[in-house]
């Protein structure tokens, strides 16, 4: 007996290397099930209605009104005109695609790198991805002008004999965004299957039994199913990781292949990926900080999780600061007078100089506060910074798009850009769609991947004493 005790002790890593359990207090697996299904199975809380009603109003009333007005009248109802032909539609498209990226990064890339802490936040982040891509995908479809011809973008045989032109990055975008939507939905849905089966087995009403049962596809949790499932999940996360790097790169190429100063930069694909992930981490924090409190998930999404997301945000912020630096450096070093003009005007121009400063200060400088541990533990401060990051990244896209367009090569055609109420309404509408879908997700589906969280508890490890192993590694 004494022998085993010493053996066990020698296996314990030194104190500074030891990590606390991801689910503290050694909760039982049954507690996890009850706690994590409490929200979809319980009564609808009041905060949910308070948020849902305005969000649903924006989604069901504001957005359709704007779209009907836009489609029946024409894109002239937006602020877009020459020379600023890309306005809020493309700004918001890039912004929404960006928001989506962190979800895939958290769920797929952190899965591949075996970061177990992702299990608690992966599902919520993936849902964010799916809904944000939906909002993003709306914009390219409606900004083509004659929306009823949007299907010409797909390679469908037409009586005109025309085909899409695959040399254009805008064409690649069509494929990239649609692929991103389908792959991230598949990935999200596949992660949900075991939990849907759990919900089905716990369901009390016939409707719930039927719906959860239908979408659980008949999951039994057998080892042979898990075997295929885990392989498919691995393959899907590998593919989704590829998309993290491709989708925003292609969005960046939409800009970089043009001849416009401020857009014609080789750094753009990487720039857009980094910016997208950065903005997405901001949105993850905005969503998770209130949710963990309102859904009583403090023991699952711990301060350590928040701390790590803050550190990732800090890293992305440093990358952004570096890219901004390189952009300004190249604008000077290239010797191109047009580049120097555009970048000078970003900070000291006639219009929109505030955008350039917001972009530098909020995206490059403000998140540097996350170096301080006290800040990474102050939820209110993190929430404020995260909201500001989203705003800062919106202004970054505004500065890149409008700031480069409004003064083109012919000074006679210079014209500032002002958004119209339809621009604002459409954006508010997509925000409504996003939050409506997110709230429905929070209400009816488990926002934590229950089976994944269970799998990382010591009780689930057959080689751990709590998992029933004799001796073994503690």
């Amino acid at each position: 007996m004494a022998d085993t005790a010493t053996q066990l002790e020698s296996l314990v890593p030194p104190k500074e290397l030891r990590r606390g359990p991801l689910v503290p207090a050694h909760r039982s697996l049954g507690w996890l099930t009850d706690h994590l299904t409490a929200m979809p199975e319980g009564k609808t809380p009041r905060w949910w209605w308070v948020l849902f009603i305005p969000a649903a109003f924006c989604a069901a009333v504001v957005l359709p009104t704007m779209l009907i007005y836009l489609i029946s009248t024409g894109v002239g109802v937006w602020g877009n005109k020459q020379p600023v032909a890309w306005g809020w539609d493309i700004i918001n498209f890039v912004w929404w695609v960006g928001v989506a990226h962190a979800g895939t990064l958290i769920s797929a890339m952190l899965f591949l790198t075996r970061q177990h802490w992702r299990t608690a936040i992966g599902r919520a982040a993936e849902a964010m991805t799916v809904f944000a891509v939906m909002c993003a995908g709306l914009y390219p479809a409606i900004h083509v002008g004659r929306v009823w011809f949007a299907w010409w973008l797909f390679p469908i045989p037409l009586t005109t004999g025309m085909w899409p032109q695959f040399r254009s990055p805008l064409m690649w975008d069509v494929f990239a965004v649609n692929t991103y939507l389908i792959v991230s939905s598949l990935f999200w849905y596949m992660g949900l299957i075991p939990d849907l089966a759990l919900m089905r087995d716990r369901a009390k009403t016939r409707v719930r039994k039927f719906l959860y049962g239908l979408f659980a596809l008949g999951w039994t949790g057998s080892a042979r199913q898990w075997h295929n499932y885990e392989k498919a999940y691995l393959v899907l996360s590998g593919l989704a990781t590829l998309l993290v790097f491709t989708v925003s790169s292609i969005v960046g190429m939409d800009f970089a292949t043009s001849q416009l100063a401020g857009w014609h930069e080789t750094i753009f694909p990487f720039y857009f990926v980094a910016g997208a992930v950065f903005c997405g981490f901001g949105m993850v924090l905005v969503l998770l900080i209130p949710l963990r409190k309102w859904c009583h998930l403090e023991e699952i999404i711990t301060l350590r999780h928040i701390d790590r997301i803050c550190k990732m945000t800090l890293m992305m912020s440093c990358i952004m600061a570096y890219i901004y630096g390189i952009e300004y450096f190249v604008a000077w070093y290239s010797g191109s007078p047009y580049d120097a003009w555009v970048f000078g005007h970003r900070l000291f121009g006639h219009y929109y100089w505030f955008g350039g400063w917001i972009m530098l200060l909020v995206n490059g400088l403000l998140p540097q506060l996350f170096w301080i541990k006290k800040v990474r533990q102050n939820l209110v401060l993190i929430f404020v910074i995260a909201v500001l990051i989203n705003i800062g990244m919106w202004f970054e896209r505004f500065t890149i798009i409008v700031g480069s367009l409004y003064q083109d090569f012919l000074p006679a055609s210079w014209h500032p850009f002002y958004p119209t109420w339809v621009d604002v309404g459409t954006y508010v509408g997509t925000l409504g769609v996003f939050f409506t879908m997110y709230l429905l997700f929070v209400r009816f589906l488990p926002i934590i991947a229950i089976s994944e969280v269970k799998a990382i508890t010591p009780q689930a490890d057959p080689h751990h004493p709590l998992g029933g192993a004799k001796g073994g590694r503690p």
């Binding site: 040399r167 949790g221 885990e230």
Partner: protein
């Protein structure tokens, strides 16, 4: 008349116990058996003697097919059937066709992985004899 039993089922309270039991069942020579758990049990596929899942092959075949298919599609559309000269660029060049083909590879491979998972697990199977067992809800 009693219906023929679907099978025998036993309940274990820890993953290690399941693992040890699975070893014994395997050594006893049973072939049509399975282990049910609310989470994947580490090492169980090895103990059960499961071979590498075929899902990866599904993804490879779907993805590879889509890549070759879309390269051919772009060549057919932009070079053969409806050539349009844009900026003196070649009608078809692999580097430019690579990007959309690569995207379609990812799309098809992901669909392939999902289809593979569904097909190999014989989904959708909305009713299973095991669901009649009340204690089965635990997994």
């Amino acid at each position: 008349m009693n219906p023929r039993p679907y099978g025998l089922i036993a309940e274990f309270d820890s993953p290690a116990a399941v693992l040890r039991a699975a070893e014994k069942v395997r050594d006893a020579g049973f072939r049509r058996w399975d282990v049910f758990s609310p989470f994947p049990v580490h090492g169980l596929d090895k103990v059960m003697g499961l071979k590498n899942s075929l899902v990866g092959w599904f993804a490879l075949v779907f993805g590879g097919g889509a890549f070759i298919g879309s390269m051919l599609m772009i060549w057919y559309m932009n070079d053969y059937d409806y050539p349009v000269l844009v900026g003196g660029k070649p009608m078809f060049s692999p580097p430019q066709a690579l990007v959309p083909s690569y995207i379609l590879l990812v799309l098809a491979a992901a669909v392939g992985a999902f289809v593979g998972m569904v097909a190999l697990n014989r989904f959708p199977r909305l009713h299973h004899p095991l669901f009649q067992n009340n204690r089965f809800a635990m997994v």
